[in-house]
């Protein structure tokens, strides 16, 4: 039996239950931020810069193997931030990738900050685009911009932001440069002031398009509240065991229940603005 969680007007966190299920203590936070990115792009350094904590950082990929959590306050909002293990993709599943994907998918953070290495933008964008398939609210943190400059790489941040449909903030996390900007955008996306329109991959193949549509229709009938039907349909087509399991047991409906309330909340904050 799915119990519909009522949208509580006093608590802005729409998905508290799922987060608590993932082991996040949400008792005194307004929003949850997930920190994702390729290995060794400086996620932990950004985490430290935001929280003032001293998570051990190291110049080697794969240093963070578990979720680290911290908190900060900005604009009188209290934020919980979760540092996820670095991953190159969300598609081929290894332990650390699973931690990251499950959190972004099932935890439904209010904002997903994707830290990218400015010197290796093209490869990093692969992950960015994959994250965009799962979540609507993201901020891209264009880290190591100093290294890019030193190596003669110039990035047009405004165009990049337009292309991606989300805020892009250049930073040098080691020197805490750009962190205030990053905070500002996180806050705007979390509160709904900035409405993201993340770029989605065009599926050109006609057969694939049709298959997705058929599955979406079917899924929608069984799980009317499921957000991101397209993504779930695609994963089913690919034979993703975990998603298959979640659909079989009906767990996916429970896990993604929150989406309905999340839409409510968006309209709610929209009303306030008007």
């Amino acid at each position: 039996m799915n119990k519909v969680v009522p949208d509580c007007e006093n608590c802005p966190v729409h998905n508290v239950n799922n987060l608590i299920k993932l082991g996040i203590d949400m008792s005194s936070y307004d929003y949850v931020i997930a920190l994702a990115g390729n290995p060794n792009t400086g996620k932990s350094t950004v985490f430290n810069a935001l929280t003032g904590l001293h998570q051990h950082t190291g110049n080697w990929p794969g240093k963070t193997v578990t979720r680290a959590e911290g908190g900060f306050e900005f604009n009188s909002h209290k934020y919980k931030i979760v540092d996820l293990p670095g991953t190159y993709s969300l598609l081929s599943i290894s332990t650390d990738e699973e931690v990251a994907r499950n959190f972004i998918l099932f935890g439904q953070p209010d904002v997903t900050v994707i830290v990218v290495d400015a010197t290796r933008l093209e490869r990093n964008l692969n992950l960015v685009l994959q994250v965009f398939e799962i979540t609507d609210r993201a901020v891209v943190c264009l880290n190591l911009i100093d290294e890019a400059e030193r190596n003669g790489i110039e990035i047009d941040v405004r165009t990049l932001s337009k292309e991606l449909g989300v805020p892009v903030v250049p930073t040098v996390a080691r020197e805490k440069k750009g962190i205030t900007e990053l905070l500002k955008y996180i806050d705007e996306v979390a509160t709904g002031k900035y409405v993201c329109k993340p770029r989605r991959i065009k599926k050109r193949d006609k057969k694939l398009r049709q298959a997705i549509e058929v599955l979406k229709y079917k899924l929608n009938k069984v799980f009317p509240d499921l957000p991101n039907l397209e993504w779930v349909a695609l994963r089913l087509l690919e034979g993703d065991q975990e998603i298959i399991k979640a659909v079989k047991s009906g767990e996916i409906g429970k896990i993604l229940q929150s989406s309905a309330t999340s839409i409510n909340r968006e309209s709610y904050s929209g009303e306030i603005k008007q």
């Binding site: 332990t95 010197t119 964008l125 290294e147 190596n151 990049l160 349909a233």
Partner: protein
Amino acid sequence: MTERDEIIALANRLRWEVGGNFHDSLMESLYKEASEIVKKTVRKKGGEFAFSLDRKIDKIVTNKWTGFPIMFILLALVFWITVQGANYPSELLSGLLVGDLYGFLKSAFISLNIPGWITGLVVDGGYLAMAWVISVMLPPMAIFFPLFTLLEDFGYLPRVAFNMDSLFRKVGAHGKQALTMSMGFGCNAAGVVATRIIDSPRERLIAIITNNFSLCNGRWPTQILIATIFIGSLVPAHLAGLVSAGAVVGIAVLGIVFSLVTSWFLSKTILKGEASTFNLELPPYRPPRILQTLYTSFIDRTLIVLWRAVVFAFPAGLVIWSISNITIEGVSLADYFINYTDPFAMLVGLNGIILLAYVVAIPANEIVIPTILMLTVTHFGLQISGAQAGVMFETGSMEVTKQILEAGGWTVLTGINLMLFSLLHNPCSTTLFTIYKETGSLKWTVISALLPIAMGFTVCFLVTQLWLLL
């Protein structure tokens, strides 16, 4: 068939219709979009390749011929700085904690009319064990960890993994084991947790079981002390420091060799399988931020590891004092154990005292040497002022330590065997607990504990018999 099962069945059917390569075509469009975006937003100035300096450095440090020598030289340099630098602060701390504060506590307890056995247990046992651990461990850790962290920050560790990758693959293990092994040089428990970066359960188990062969921080002081006393003294004084450091590096390298051999053995027997491939990204070199590194490595590593040692040292101190002072028919429990195990221990070139010390030191390897010294003095009834049953004491100079050990029947052979046994014995209880938590299996935890002990006894036995033959 439920509606949910129907969805799965539908998906399975559609998958065939769409064709098997749509995953590839999806990935292709992913790459295509990424490169389109990059084309619109990224501009490269000048014609020169990015990271040309990095490439030049990499050509040297990952070169077939120069890679390994550079690795060993860097390792030796780190130890040499640690050995040289830790001496003076160690003496200062022990003068303070073991000398002055110990005397103050002792007289305070006596003047407060606290019963003798409580004073003995708490001050002579628990407190002294803690004081020793701090004075012996803190200085080398405060030097070793920052140096290691600087290398890490600079970006050298992935290059080590790169160099070692082919070796680990040849023995059927994962190339990333080189990284977890390096973490083990600080602390085996941390190394075991770090194996989470290895995806395949088989290779991860190999990495977990063999992590113990990375000399951990709790064992460096033992190695350094024994090498200085027994190996350094074999050569003229001006070479002693260098030779001792060389001996410690030798043991560390031997540990790597054992790690490889054991990995090979495991992947050919109980953990059969092929090595999986992986991508290792060589990150750019970054100038380390010295001050911040000093700060974080002190907070993150030094204090945490020290705290653990202190927490374990106190109860261990209570145990040492108790077994040395509880007697049955006039013979202490410690003496019973020592007399009983001595014949066997002699066979492998050690002695009963060393074995007892290793039993007591299961929670923390750091207290092996103090325990050995204390037990030697009480067991042989040596007359050294201030030493009494169950008191772990700081011997002011190396010379006194050497005299005590020699009075206990130690030779160069005993020293070498102790260094070997310190490398090859069961992991400490924290590491074992971590192994249990990570594997969730009692069987693998027991194997991780027993395998190195069996190897330790075998190696010491062979060395002893060979030594006696020559």
